[in-house]
Symmetry: C2
Subunit: 294 residues, 2 copies
């Protein structure tokens, strides 16, 4: 069976390396991106381009969206020159962005009415995981559609988990982000304490990483905090969006998530101090100034 023809929408920090991995795996990929400079970079590397989501989706067996937020997915699918104007019945849309689980169920209903199966398949693993094709992919939707897209997912990630009906992938991603951003805040407070105590920070990262305090966040972002590298793998702006989605879900579900609420406020403080485009590891800067001595 020939590999499916893929329409790809969104060539950001994550989308670009993911689409490139599909190209390398032999998929026929036509990509669209809102900002022209990122589209040009894709074209310079030999990727085929489209000038709208509609054009990217025309003739595609699978349309992948990898954009920022709920409204962006709605817009590239159902907006002017959106993918829904050209995508054929019998084909599949896959949203790999992180957006609202309940909005995802609405999108899936709208697409099913047009004969299109929709999968929500958000990812975790950061820019490094996107480049190395080692992402964790959490999928919700119809099992049959999932089975048809398995080869595509395997070209992008290492752990692909089918979670259940439409919205389950996004719900799992929000669960994932509670762990990601909670562990990140814990890493920041740990290294802030280490610095204040006068410890060798690199050695502290190594010692803590060998025991029960080990985490992906410490191993991957701890060394960046040590050297003050705040370049974005995962920008604060998107972390704040995820925290908003988590707290919206908590409200819908009547749940108390006190640590998430605190972390959301710490990121608000960072954004207010001008850090919205920094990487999430810049959260350590919120805690950087010592208190006045009594």
């Amino acid at each position: 069976m020939a590999l499916p023809r893929v329409g790809w929408i969104g060539l950001g920090i994550m989308g670009k390396p993911m689409a490139t991995n599909l190209l390398r795996a032999g998929f026929d990929v036509v990509a669209y991106n809102r900002s022209v400079n990122r589209l040009k970079a894709w074209s310079d590397e030999g990727g085929r381009t489209a000038s709208s989501p509609r054009e990217a989706a025309a003739g595609a067996d699978v349309v992948v969206t990898m954009v920022s937020d709920t409204v962006d997915v709605e817009s590239v699918l159902f907006g002017d020159a959106g993918a829904a104007e050209s995508v054929r019945p019998g084909s599949i849309t896959i949203d790999m962005s992180t957006i609202s689980p309940s909005a995802t169920r609405d999108l899936a209903r709208g697409l099913r009415e047009r004969g299109i199966e929709h999968l929500d398949a958000p990812v975790s693993g950061g820019e490094s995981g996107a480049i190395a094709a080692t992402l964790s992919i959490m999928v919700g939707g119809e099992p049959g559609a999932f089975a048809r897209c398995r080869g595509l997912f395997d070209a992008l990630g290492k752990r692909v988990t089918f979670m259940g009906p439409s919205g389950s992938g996004q719900a799992t991603k929000l669960v994932n982000q509670v762990a990601v951003l909670g562990n990140l805040a814990a890493t920041c407070e740990a290294l802030r304490l280490a610095r204040a105590t006068g410890l060798d920070l690199a050695r502290a990262v190594d010692a803590v990483g060998g025991g029960a305090g080990a985490s992906w966040q410490l191993a991957n972002l701890g060394p960046k905090m040590v050297v003050g590298d705040f370049a974005p793998g995962f920008p604060v702006r998107l972390a704040r969006k995820d925290l908003r989605l988590i707290l919206e879900s908590a409200r819908e579900l009547c749940l108390a998530l006190p640590m998430v609420a605190l972390v959301e406020q710490l990121f608000s403080a960072l954004a207010a101090a001008g850090g919205d485009e920094d990487g999430t590891q810049a959260l350590i800067r919120v805690l950087e100034r010592p208190l006045p001595r009594p």
Copy 2:
């Protein structure tokens, strides 16, 4: 060179398997424990026993303390029938408990006046790491004393890190506990959200563990939360003691650690609800009841 003769004080959840690993590695170990039933279990497995810290330390080249808190270490070293009454000049004391870094520096001074080198060498990795001899060990003190004890540490752990002068091991352990208990709280809130959303919890643990939300806490305690196993590997009582030590250090250093403060209060709520002897994974129970629907 013959292996040093070891006096071991404290046969708790961690101390017992650690002392057993020394026995297996060929060390001559004489152990003391305050409660007689744990001492008997040690004796039943062929370990030699002492009836006081002083007796355990008599003739030892190295005296190891593995007890609960600062006052316990002070008591088994300097109290009535304490190790300091019999330990010989030229020998080494190693405290592997988790206690105050500043109290550790005082202890080390007191011992040095008697010609005894003191190392602080707290561990991370939990009961499973103690049994498997895969602990992370964070050591503070004189480099020469550390070198003499390297073989003993290697029989107990996998990652042994020399952190610097006296107190540095304990300071690193507190840094470690910020990561441990922060990651644990994040794991609890993540799985609480997963349950409320109706996800398959075991699959959620698997999916999150494959990406940027991965942590030792999720991998080791997540499955226990899923099945409701709250048996203590690391009891809430000791987690609360560590959080108290961290907040005491933060106050000494004029640091703000808002997440640690929140986690300390969540554990206080758990203890107030009768969970002080449960394992730390029981923290998920604090969040278990949904809010009343508005």
